[in-house]
Subunit: 174 residues, 2 copies
């Protein structure tokens, strides 16, 4: 049986020179790889008490959507600026390459709700930090952050030392 790592394709120098891009599309295009990824991420949540799943577009939805359905939890999307139609809170942050502004609907969280953040990849942790900021600005409590892949060389865990961070695959570099 293939390991989950073997379904990921590594593309050197995308989208910029020096970046080793971890391509998750070859995971989801194989039903066995996709199932394994979802199951492994769900396993990280066993025993975790939480109310809602928060995930950013677009690749986060590949995993957050089936997990929300399987666990019968609300899925709250975080999107790029201007995409969400109701009143939002927003945050800007630096990406590994470039800058981004993200938004979340104001009425999607009730203060005190326990939140799990799900995404395909954690790199510098900048996106996650911004998402946590949005959740906390609405009174939500981030109890866990679960990723398929983690780039250990970018030290996101230092930045997020007050939070629980779990990943299925750890890459030593950037």
């Amino acid at each position: 049986m293939k390991s989950i790592e073997e379904y990921v394709t590594t593309i050197p120098d995308f989208p910029e020179k020096g970046i080793m891009f971890r391509d998750v599309t070859t995971v989801i295009k194989d039903p066995d790889g996709y199932q394994m990824a979802v199951e492994e991420m769900q396993k990280k949540l066993e025993g975790e008490e939480f109310d809602v799943i928060v995930a950013p577009e677009s690749r986060g939805y590949f995993f957050a959507s089936p997990i929300a359905c399987n666990l019968h939890k609300p899925l709250i999307p975080i999107r790029k600026k201007g995409k969400l139609p109701r009143e939002t809170v927003s945050a800007s942050y630096d990406l590994e390459y470039g800058q981004e502004e993200i938004e979340m609907h104001k009425d999607d969280l009730v203060p005190g709700q326990k939140v799990v953040i799900i995404d395909d990849l954690i790199a510098t942790g900048g996106t996650v930090e911004a998402m946590i900021g949005l959740v906390e600005s609405l009174g939500g409590i981030v109890v866990d952050n679960v990723f398929l892949m983690e780039l250990m060389g970018l030290n996101a865990r230092d930045r997020l030392s007050d939070y629980k961070v779990q990943s299925v695959i750890q890459y030593p570099g950037k």
Copy 2:
């Protein structure tokens, strides 16, 4: 029990004046609504023989992802230009509001594969036509197109008269 229509929120004049935006985030943030949406869309595929699911970012992934997992089918993402790391085919098309360029990985389809396209909404059918173009340029055969919502007043079915189009909710207007 609430009907699936009751989970959708309608936002007038978003993103532009005159557009009645059908907001699906209130479907997925209610686990019962989300489950109902996925089940109703899956029902449309009962008895359909197909090899892969193709879906566009971002909202399409809310539904295509759990359906691909449930039916153990490959999920092939269509994304905005510049997001996919491997070699792509691309198509430009007019949106209900604005213009867009989308891409699909060249090696994600094998000629002769039967494709189901899944998205949250069909409006003018412009996006779907562009997606069908991408699939066919790689030798894929589009056997079905399944949507949660359809804006009947925009007559996508006229444009896509050679293809099977199914939707769970039909809105009479635009």
